[in-house]
Symmetry: D2
Subunit: 144 residues, 4 copies
């Protein structure tokens, strides 16, 4: 549950802005890639989860803290971890690093609610439960 | 049929790249805005065309020629014209201008096929025909 | 200091995803629009702040909480408020509402560090200080 | 000069739209990735071309023809070819294919002018000439 899953992306020209760095909204796209590749490495396809099991991992909250800017053409390491799993919600934590140097560029977190295609909350289907063992109650962090 | 429909957008920081100008793919997004606002000014909603009449204006071709760069915070004038209307296809032409100076920044064209939600070509529904009178055959340009 | 500044945007087709709603990273782009239009309504241009005063409002943190999905072609009301002003940092809070119904779609916050063009932190130039009176120390919220 | 250079990308959720397919502007981003990876496979870095040799490959024209839609999570094969090289301009041609099936999804072309950082046209620096041998005049296609 504390393992990081890793994948890499190359910074696209389209992702930079006139400050010469990666525009901040793109980190959320990288978080999405981190989640999807985590699912693939765990052994299932998020696309099939949507299409076959009518289960969408809908974003309820996101946050990102920026430490150093990502630059054009950087190879970016996206590290994703399941931070909390409950019957109806999943929380992921992320680290974004420059792959060549290991420098930490950003950290972040997203909270998700499992929904059906009509956007109604539902319980994570049984077949996916093994990938997301429930977080013990005492480990669930308090949040204001 | 030769009238331009006009709308404006403000260049977003997110749309610039590290060259300090608007990244080229964003012009296609502006063309889309031009089409949708043209429809609204003609008197119908593209959203309803999709949702009520199962008719999607699917892009088959696009082209764009860049003359001068659009810059951050520029007010952009999008001018859209129906270039050709046939029973199953629509062609639009665009001009992108800096609103304050009138300078021509880009010109472009898109060709569209009317499709249903399953991506099958269909005839433009009768109720929309009045907005797009058929282009006389002798005016249809030859293309290689 | 507690006033909201308001601006509107229309949801673009490009901003939707295959779930049929606005993709979550786009809310950060709307926050950026909220900031820039707040500056314009206050009486200055962010572009000139960068170009004439070598002062960039660099994002250090962002967070967003999603309540209801924004949909294609919705008119979106972006409400922006200066949540905290210090000599070297600015914090903004946002509300995203469906303009026609007033429904709250999302809330968020961003923290910024004033930097020069070489990404070094600096004090907000004197000429902008009047727009951002310092938040009294007792009002600065504690954060873990 | 007629060889295709190949690279792959995975379709991101962010790249889909509410039609359930990849939004058309994203193909231009894939073309950009095709160019940059072509340069890398040829033996040089486009980033260094900009930063060390003050030479930008600025887009003057783009076109794209869509055959079949790219879908979420598809592995996309981007095939890039130098279609024409002149002293001050480069033209690239592209094929976008679904990697698993080989199906042709789109074809396109971009024309570029070599410019310095102040957007003034210049001759491609000598050191890059070997990667782009001049197209014989008789092979340069006529265009209206």
């Amino acid at each position: 549950m504390n393992d990081f899953y890793e994948t890499t992306v190359r910074v696209r020209y389209a992702e930079t802005d006139r400050m010469g760095v990666v525009y901040y909204a793109n980190y959320l796209i990288w978080f999405e890639i981190g989640r999807v590749e985590t699912f693939r490495q765990m052994g299932f396809s998020y696309k099939e989860m949507e299409e076959r099991d009518d289960s969408y991992v809908v974003v309820a909250e996101s946050r990102c803290r920026h430490h150093r800017p990502a630059l054009y053409d950087d190879l970016i390491l996206i590290r994703t971890r399941v931070a909390e799993a409950r019957s109806r919600t999943l929380r992921f934590a992320y680290e974004i690093r420059r792959e060549t140097t290991g420098e930490l560029l950003a950290t972040g977190e997203t909270l998700h609610v499992i929904c059906d295609s009509r956007n109604r909350p539902k319980v994570l289907p049984q077949k996916y439960r093994k990938y997301f063992p429930l977080t013990p109650p005492e480990e669930v962090p308090r949040r204001s």
